[in-house]
Amino acid sequence: MSSSHLPNYVRAERKRLALSQAEVAFLLGAESGAKVCRYERFAREPGLRTALAYEVIFHKPVRELFAGLYATTEQEVATRAKTLTAKAERLKPNRQSIHKRATLAAIINQPVHRS
């Protein structure tokens, strides 16, 4: 648990830029700093627009800002990709199914990273 990523690193980034929670909330288009506080305490996950707004504010990719969330999503997708691979293996081998299997293998073997 302790060596895995935190769900997000937005508090650190906000502090680096010397912004208050209320100021970030304003930039995100939220009503108050309470929502920002909930993101920073990992009590709430932001929607896509908010996540992209964070990327704009902090000049860092979403997957880096929300590293823990990204790692969890990556693992979930890899698990689903394994299920899909099992289905794909039952297909008659042709160019399309070979390409599909290679795509799924790439998803499964994607390393969990935060670069």
Binding site: S2, S3, L6, R11, A12, K15, R16, H113, R114, S115
Partner: protein, 171 residues
């Protein structure tokens, strides 16, 4: 943040003071959170509650404290340290207690240097995070600036890192 921190250990360093405590959360040598938590009323009870919140939020693998007895701290601080060690163990977090000398040795070749010199070093190392928080040099008639707790905690957190091989990444 831009450096990869996968598989690095997260540490929480806490330095109790008269106003509350300073804290720093590090992943390897990267600062994840830092600040001062002021506590009013029963300071020890308040501090323990706030440290518990940090332990729950960040799930650190290591909890780092300064050895209160070797650095002649007040009886209240010694009692608080003992309570914090108990709380950390309750949360199954490894506790590391460092002497003041060991912390200084991490930053000064001869182990000798003032708190302000140490703070300057840290502000240089973490300009985005700490430069704005650097307190002015304390004069003889001034009491310690509350922000010094942050620098103490960051220094403690860095000193508590396992020795690394190869070049030490800059923060």
């Amino acid at each position: 943040m831009s450096q990869s921190t996968s598989h690095t250990t997260r540490s929480l360093a806490v330095t109790p003071s008269t106003r509350g405590f300073g804290f720093a959360v590090l992943e390897g040598e990267i600062l994840v959170d830092w600040g001062v938590k002021p506590v009013t009323g029963d300071k020890n009870t308040g501090s323990v509650a706030k440290v518990k919140e940090l332990l729950i939020l960040y799930h650190p693998a290591r909890f780092i404290l300064e050895d209160a007895e070797s650095s002649r701290r007040a009886a209240r601080i010694c009692a608080l340290h003992a309570e914090l060690v108990r709380v950390a163990k309750e949360h199954q977090v490894r506790v590391i207690v460092l002497t003041r000398t060991r912390v200084r040795r991490r930053f000064f070749a001869d182990g000798e240097g003032t708190k302000h010199e140490l703070a300057l070093q840290l502000a240089e190392r973490y300009p985005e995070e700490l430069k704005l928080r650097l307190p002015p040099k304390r004069r003889l008639w001034m009491s310690e600036d509350y922000r010094m707790g942050i620098f103490d905690a960051v220094a403690l957190g860095l000193a508590g890192q396992q020795p690394k091989r190869g070049p030490v990444p800059r923060g």
